[in-house]
Symmetry: C2
Subunit: 414 residues, 2 copies
């Protein structure tokens, strides 16, 4: 995409090149990315981002949970900044765009403003939040959650990695990823985050831009189903307490509960580990990690209640069902949503309003400052997958929209 | 149990003490045993058995797959021996009796004959077969299968451990567990194996002894169900290909197929691993390790066919379903079964005839020489579990029966 005269545009080629270069860090054989939070590859991704941000004239600061802020000075640098960013960590078999697109969009906004010789009234800060994915360390959105005050820093630092191992504090120390900036001291003027949709709606309807008005509420559960280990041969079928059979019925129910709250309900068992996992032993116990979502808080509560009933209905089995995280539905700030809509209108982009099915760092930021998000389509709606893909044209238009929205907020007086 | 005058009896206290001492090797916190085949703990168990056997005057030989033979000379040592034994390896969360009872029963038979000053016509050999469980290295009953010629030595030695790692050959070398005796050169005169029932029938009916007339046929399958990884939030329910949901339905079907072939059919999914196993990612693939059993070959074939139909019915999913092992039903030798019955009659023990639901080394031995088994009850029918338990009285009577049966065969002329 070439620059139109008299219109502020980003450099789509540079943006795409940055995305592809970042995707080389932790690249997987299947074309995806594995940059688990606070791992060596995450460290390398952070270093590259820091180099690029400093080359773009930004001043870098890092806080105690590893959140990175690249500060691009405003004409009045004492005013609260406009934050723009996302996260560089990925799922174990993640894609090139989830998170990285948001951080590198922020970088491209700053680069484009500099190319155009525009100095904003307020400072702009590109942010890379620590551990958005929650895959290696629970919970997800750890950096923004701590920044916003929703999560306690000490508790988060002591969190051990899934399956046992390092704590967050140990991983930060090992790779030198924590800085001395206080966590969440400043309240930004506004927060914007660009992201792939991670769903099929924009692509199916032929839209380039999703103006995100809300984020679904989410409930996470740890469940343990306990039966009785026994030899798979001699034990008669009626005498068994097969924990896998019971857990399988729970998987079926989680799916059914989501369908009973169609079209917005979501129910997923993403973690599932049986013990002892030996072919000729009837499974004695199963761990299930359950994820339920709905944009309506009451509907989500009803789904959680139905899960409890399904669990209690597993007669003859022991175990536990614990809710480990509740993230209520979020409504984004009308003025920030309007800034995104104004930008899309100005650019003549095809758009629709949309609810985010995924959690994002913008969720926590919305608790402390006016926030909004810009979505672009991803191929077949697939994300959290190595084949995750997006079109360069969509990526470019997404950042064009982001640029105008950021600019609108960054020119607002104090 | 004290020795009755004029009646050949084993020393139940000594037997029990040997069982408890062996159970200290690889002892788990929950009272069970973890002596995975060819591991360090297996090595230690083998060393202890070798010490005891040599102290009982036996000459030890070990073959190329690690099978151990403790030779107790007969009056005509050129005659084919009577073999008696089982295995010392265990499941990862196994019990004190599965396998160890059979090996130490053989040891107690030899000790008791020596105490009584009885020299048999034929030699008696106590055998410890390598890797009966098949938990670390597939397939199960590896040592006896190789000895009998059912499994090819070279292929078995090259077998890699489940989940990747050492081969059988490498594990044998690491712990110095292979010997120079040729594998399966000699055909024994007879083979006896004592074992806990690993099912609830003897206990429920109040019998002390099970005279095993047959072993169920068994089919093992590796199954892979492939769906599509995607983010658990945005992806609408109808657009998903959740591999865990499909695999859960297969678990339900395996259970139903076994019930459709009641009361003898058995169906178990003992291995189950999902990928990527992250809470907010819809599972992309699942590995299932499936175990089906039936004492009737035709019924077992029908069960396998029904599994194939269930797999093919998973519309919209990819994957594979491969049968990796078929072990046909086994009928034990009438003369060996009669020797066990004669012994039980002579001792006045309460017994019934029974089909073994589990595979045993006796299965492969029955292919090459007259064989039979003696079962004793185990508490609640539970085995392949750390709480596996048996009564000392039952253990003693079981070896009393075994002793007389072995003696009958060991006095048969060449």
């Amino acid at each position: 995409m070439s620059k139109a005269a008299n219109r502020l545009c980003i450099d789509g080629g540079r943006l795409w090149q940055s995305l592809m270069t970042m995707a080389e860090i932790g690249a997987t054989a299947k074309g995806g990315v594995c940059r688990l939070a606070l791992s060596e590859t995450d460290r390398d991704g952070r270093r590259l981002f820091a180099e690029w941000a400093e080359a773009a004239g930004c001043r870098l600061s890092i806080d105690g949970i590893g959140n990175m802020f690249a500060h691009c000075a405003g004409r009045d640098d004492s005013l609260a900044p406009v934050l723009v960013g996302s996260h560089l960590d990925s799922q174990p078999t993640g894609g090139k765009f989830d998170g990285a697109y948001g951080v590198l969009s922020g970088l491209e906004v700053v680069r484009a403003l500099q190319d155009a010789g525009i100095e904003t009234l307020r400072p702009i800060e590109i942010v890379n939040w620590t551990n958005e994915e929650g895959s290696r360390f629970a919970p997800a959105m750890m950096g923004s959650g701590t920044y916003s005050g929703a999560l306690a820093l000490e508790e988060v630092l002591a969190q051990e990695e899934s399956g046992g191992g390092q704590t967050v504090a140990e991983a930060l120390t090992e790779h030198g990823l924590a800085g001395d900036a206080p966590v969440g001291e400043r309240t930004p003027h506004a927060y914007f985050e660009a992201h792939i949709e991670q769903g099929p709606i924009l692509e199916a309807e032929g839209h380039t831009i999703g103006i995100v008005t809300a984020i679904q509420g989410l409930r996470w559960f740890d469940c343990r189903v306990e039966g009785m280990e026994a030899h798979a041969g001699p034990m008669p079928m009626p005498a068994r307490k097969d924990a896998l059979l019971a857990a399988s019925r729970l998987v079926e129910r989680v799916n059914a509960i989501a369908l009973e709250h169609a079209p917005d309900g979501r129910g997923t068992v993403g973690e599932f580990r049986i013990s002892p996992d030996s072919r000729n032993v009837i499974p004695g116990s199963v761990h299930l990690g359950i994820d339920m979502r709905h944009p309506d808080a009451d509907a989500l509560a009803a789904m959680a209640a139905a899960l409890r009933v399904a669990y209690d209905d597993l007669e003859g089995y022991g175990g536990t069902l614990n809710e480990i995280w509740y993230s209520p539905p979020t409504l984004f700030d009308p003025t920030c949503v309007a800034a995104v809509r104004n930008a899309a209108d100005a650019l003549g982009a095809s758009y629709r309003e949309i609810t985010s099915g995924a959690g994002h760092d913008a969720k926590y930021m919305a608790d402390i400052c006016p926030s909004a998000m810009v979505f672009i389509p991803c191929r077949d709606g697939i994300s959290h997958n190595e084949i995750e893909s997006a079109e360069p044209e969509h990526a470019t238009v997404g950042v064009d929209v982001l640029l105008l929205a950021v600019l609108e907020k960054a020119q607002e007086p104090g």
